[in-house]
């Protein structure tokens, strides 16, 4: 059977962490650090989520869009592929791929709307940098398709999550665990680990936070708990470092992108 994660292109394309943390030479020249790169991707993941709330698509679409965006930047530079255009274009493409289509016109409308409030507080006078026309979104969509090499199927932790939570007798922690999974998209985890292990790591973190003892349940699973624990550590590390992320730092990174290409 082919239509499962294990022989999907998603699986075949899982990366080592070092492969995901690439700053392209052309971006380096412009002064981007790895930290900037991560901040921008996180910021764009937020932007996608924000846009998605407005156009009303499922979380799954957000997750796919963010994954597309992150995959694009393992291959392409931010100099050539402006994140402010890539992000909404990924959402547009993901909405089709996940069967919750959003009209380009609607998307552009909400981009404009967002520019006028949310981002204004972040960057005075810089709202224009986010503003794109339908034509530009459609063109970027094609470039993204090509950058993704038309691999559009993405597996997410969500499906495994609810099954696993039930099995672990932790259905009461669904919301917490779900939220944790959502937050993993602020990092490159989805490019690096199989989704069910990310789901398990989130359950692991949730059970620690909720002080729930289910070591036995984890031990019965035929998975390498070291991997799960490592992912859990990465998640916790992210939360730690996230506290130190200030608007100013994001701002500074975004400013390096400069004006719209």
């Amino acid at each position: 059977m082919a239509a499962n994660f294990w022989n999907s292109t998603h699986h075949k394309q899982l990366l080592d962490p070092e492969e995901a943390d690439v700053v392209h030479p052309i971006d380096k020249e412009r002064g981007f650090t790895l930290e900037d790169f991560k901040l921008i991707k996180m910021h764009m993941a937020n932007y996608i989520a924000r846009l998605a709330q407005n156009v009303k698509v499922r979380q799954r679409v957000v997750a796919t869009a963010v994954t597309y965006m992150r995959r694009v930047y393992t291959r392409k530079s931010m100099t050539e592929y402006d994140p402010r255009l890539v992000a909404p274009s990924c959402l547009y493409l993901a909405s089709k791929a996940e069967e919750s289509t959003v009209q380009a016109r609607l998307l552009v409308f909400y981009i404009k709307k967002l520019c006028n409030n949310f981002f204004l507080t972040w960057y005075l006078n810089s709202d224009e940098k986010y503003r794109y026309e339908i034509k530009e979104i459609l063109e970027m969509e094609m470039k993204i398709l090509e950058a993704l090499n038309y691999h559009l199927v993405v597996f997410h932790p969500y499906r495994a999550l609810s099954q696993l939570l039930q099995d672990a007798g932790m259905s009461d922690s669904t919301q917490l665990a779900w939220g944790l999974v959502n937050d993993t998209y602020k990092t490159d985890l989805i490019l690096i680990h199989p989704p069910h292990l990310i789901a398990l790591a989130c359950i692991y973190v949730a059970s620690v936070l909720k002080d729930k003892e289910n070591t036995a349940w984890f031990e019965e699973l035929r998975v390498d708990m070291n991997v799960v624990k490592n992912i859990a550590m990465e998640i916790l590390d992210f939360y730690d470092s996230h506290k130190a992320i200030t608007d100013d730092r994001v701002n500074a990174a975004m400013h390096k992108l400069g004006l719209k290409a």
């Binding site: 059977m1 082919a2 239509a3 499962n4 994660f5 294990w6 022989n7 999907s8 292109t9 699986h11 075949k12 394309q13 291959r75 547009y92 493409l93 089709k96 791929a97 069967e99 289509t101 009209q103 380009a104 979104i137 459609l138 063109e139 969509e141 094609m142 398709l145 090509e146 950058a147 090499n149 038309y150 691999h151 559009l152 199927v153 597996f155 997410h156 932790p157 499906r159 495994a160 099954q163 696993l164 989704p195 069910h196 789901a199 035929r222």
Partner: protein
């Protein structure tokens, strides 16, 4: 799905990034046409491999890359089966910018006209298949043998079962989407209307799918919640068509389509189809008079096992309709004569419905000319009449003017070896449409003649091969002659169709352009 048992990892093929240019291929000839885009036979320059290039039409696309193409790509990337067409890669046309720097590709003109790098510049590359089932069946004089039909049916069901297990509905099963190579392999193609479904997903799906003639009653009655059974109805239609020699429900619009179905399968009621009265349009279409199921009577000449299986496929109530899996277990496939080995099947010169259709167009042109010249030829029917060689002795053979426009090639092929059955009865003859009768149609390949490319001469000279199967046990209407018991051939018009074609491709007749509409944004 996300948590599969580990241990079945495939050796990962190294992911290559960025798509190649269509310049890597040399287009040979057009073999299909749909609203989706054209399909070309092409040769990969580096390897010499023959492939099919399906163009994804981007003009008139206000919503960017068509969702139908996205669905098809997603689905084909996850399906890997010997009875499902293989998507090899996706290539882009280099676009005008590059071309201006001195690399005019084969598709230069097209790109210039579209004026945009991506407009009209995306091609899906498929393995090349020599025929589609309709094109093959429409070959002059073509008659399938029983083991051959069983062999095709079994492959069709195997491929479809695989799709259904993987939660994919094909939603456009018809002869021209079933591709056949010269190894006798049959593969499902054109997933442009296909969709993933999940049993837990209760969303509504569009009922505007599946070519009219192959569309099941639940869709015609407006159902938006449906499953794999829709494909099985189409399979039943194809099965019957193979045995009967022509489409069994050639409706010209939805009401007529339902009527034809009811006339053969009986009118549905709550007894035979619980819940039917709650389907949206049931009251609009419910037959005015009670109709009895006549399937067994009409097809009484079919062999017992075939009829039994057909009954189960053409069951009105989708919940009682046989599944692909159960159909594969049917007695039909395990009773003598057994399905043959695909490799044992005869090889034919390439035939696609697009090409046979083109021939028909030329034929019609010729007909018009003939009429003008007051030559008495009655040629209303659609499928090609057989080419008649002397000695074959078909009753319809008449001397006719050798039409200048395609006469010269008519002799290329020696007919006899394609007749797998001796003519049975003057009226019926070996052609699939009894009313046939123009001997001059023949084996022209107009597109070859003009198109160019190295694929012109028929690679499989048919001469001298004895009919592999005796004339006994031949399916088909046989000597029933022109009696069609209500399934008369009404000269269906043949709109654009193509084996790799997209939505709207096909031979179903239109109702107000239904068949050719874009289904793009529907769910």
């Amino acid at each position: 799905m996300a948590i599969a048992a580990p241990g079945q990892l495939n050796v990962s093929e190294s992911p290559s990034w960025g798509s190649r240019s269509v310049d890597c291929f040399e287009k040979l000839e057009q073999i299909g046409e749909g609203t989706y885009g054209q399909v070309y036979m092409a040769r990969e320059i580096r390897t010499g491999e023959i492939v099919a290039l399906k163009k994804i039409r981007m003009d008139n696309e206000r919503e960017g890359f068509p969702i139908t193409a996205i669905r098809e790509i997603k689905i084909l990337k996850k399906l890997h089966h010997e009875n499902v067409i293989k998507l090899k890669e996706i290539v882009t046309s280099p676009g005008p910018e590059k071309d201006e720097q001195g690399r005019p590709g084969k598709l230069y003109l097209i790109d210039i006209i579209d004026g945009n790098k991506y407009k009209g510049g995306i091609y899906m590359v498929f393995e090349y298949m020599d025929h589609d089932l309709t094109g093959l069946a429409d070959r002059p004089g073509m008659r399938f043998s029983v083991p051959q039909i069983k062999c095709y049916m079994r492959q069709l069901l195997t491929g479809l079962h695989y799709c259904h297990v993987n939660q994919v509905l094909h939603r456009d099963i018809k002869g021209s989407n079933l591709l056949i190579d010269n190894e006798g392999n049959l593969k499902l193609a054109d997933f442009g209307l296909a969709r993933s479904f999940s049993s837990d997903h209760n969303g509504n799906l569009t009922n505007r799918v599946i070519t009219l003639w192959y569309r099941p009653p639940e869709l015609l009655l407006g159902s938006t919640k449906y499953g794999p059974a829709v494909d099985m109805w189409s399979v039943g239609c194809i099965f019957a068509e193979l045995l009967h020699g022509k489409p069994i429900f050639p409706g010209k619009d939805e009401p007529e389509q339902l009527n034809k179905i009811f006339e053969l399968c009986g009118a549905p009621d709550e007894v035979i189809w619980p819940g039917v009265s709650k389907i949206p349009w049931y009251n609009n279409f419910k037959p005015t008079r009670p109709l009895k199921r006549r399937l067994r009577e009409v097809f009484r000449h079919f062999d017992r096992h075939a009829l039994e299986l057909l009954e189960k496929m053409l069951t009105l109530d989708p919940s009682q309709r046989i599944s692909a899996k159960d159909a594969l277990d049917a007695e039909y496939f395990w009773a003598d004569p057994l399905p043959c080995d695909p490799k044992s099947l005869p090889k034919y010169e390439s035939s696609h419905e697009f090409q046979t259709k083109k021939k028909r167009q030329q034929q019609r042109q010729h007909d018009d000319n003939a009429k003008r010249q007051k030559i008495q030829h009655q040629q209303q029917h659609a499928r090609l009449p057989p080419i008649q060689q002397s000695g074959q002795g078909h009753a319809q053979m008449r001397p006719g003017p050798n039409p200048a426009m395609h006469g010269s090639q008519a002799q290329v092929v020696a007919g006899p070896s394609h007749h797998y059955a001796k003519p049975r009865g003057a009226a019926a003859g070996p052609n699939r449409y009894p009313q046939g009768g123009n001997p001059s149609g023949g084996y022209n390949h107009p597109s070859r003649g003009q198109g160019g490319g190295g694929y012109v001469s028929g690679p499989y000279p048919p001469q001298g091969r004895a009919p592999p199967y005796g004339s006994s046990g031949m399916p088909g209407p046989g000597p029933r002659g022109g009696n069609n018991s209500g399934y008369g051939v009404n000269a269906p018009n043949y709109p654009q169709g193509g084996p790799y074609g997209g939505p709207g491709a096909g031979r179903g007749s239109n109702m107000g352009g239904n068949r050719n509409q874009q289904y793009g944004w529907q769910q």
